[in-house]
Symmetry: C2
Amino acid sequence: MNKERKEICLSGSGGQGLILAGIILAEAAGVYDGFEVAQTQSYGPEARGGASRSEVIISKEKIDYPKVIKSDILLALTQQSCDKYIKNVSEDGILLADSTNVLKIPSFSGKVYQHHITDDAIKVIGNKLVANIISLGIIVQLTDIVTKEAIKKALMNRIPVRVKELNIKALEHGFEVAKKL
Amino acid sequence: MNKERKEICLSGSGGQGLILAGIILAEAAGVYDGFEVAQTQSYGPEARGGASRSEVIISKEKIDYPKVIKSDILLALTQQSCDKYIKNVSEDGILLADSTNVLKIPSFSGKVYQHHITDDAIKVIGNKLVANIISLGIIVQLTDIVTKEAIKKALMNRIPVRVKELNIKALEHGFEVAKKL
């Protein structure tokens, strides 16, 4: 991706670790890859009722206006979040949909990638909670938005020691999945 | 605080748990107290070199512009972050400085509160890492920015089971400290 400013929206439902995924992606870009980064989550009536999201803006320039207007990349781990946030994706953007939960892809002019991410988290990695990290792996492999070294360092920095191995396995599984998409 | 929109800046150095504190405060306000909330952290050259911050905007109205312009409340856990972010506090704002680390209060027209927060984390609670949670307790007691019920629920929701007791103790210690400030 060669744009000066890239906006990523990570969406799903509460408890899927999307805030953590946003923080990891933001640290990878800002602390390890040297970009300017703003990472935001919103709460309130809009966030209630299922769909939640975490937003990351990665820029070569100082970020004066940190609100995500049009996402370049949307991760959707649930049907509800996909239906809700697809409207905010730019026309030539990317949608990564978890086909375990997103059974119907909304009308969208950009590029669509689908993979049964949650199924893989359960069956390949053995823990449903790492769907967020598999997703990060897929996004990084597909888009080069941050380097693999940076995302690994940021991941290691943000998760407890006892689940490090599990999470690295999930991240690397994401890399491999994306190579076949 | 009766303003329609309140902006809180939680600052210190990396590793002091300020992102987590921001997320807990944001969830308290947005999920449990029913406000519109945006919670942001920035990374990049500006954030490197010690001073780090996490920002929370709490509003009765939809937040169209989530960038913190002037903080109403600044928490400063280090001298460096205090010196750096005091410039962004509104003239009638509040500074809460951790006097364990902030030895010199910069010139400021607003209200200043000082307490040896990190000392208390170590000596009263027994863990340096809860300075962030003591700080939240002090801020909530001083400003009523969210309800005590909401901050407790959000805290319980965001920390591992094994450190719940420690964190509740830290939060309640913050309430008590603030009553004497």
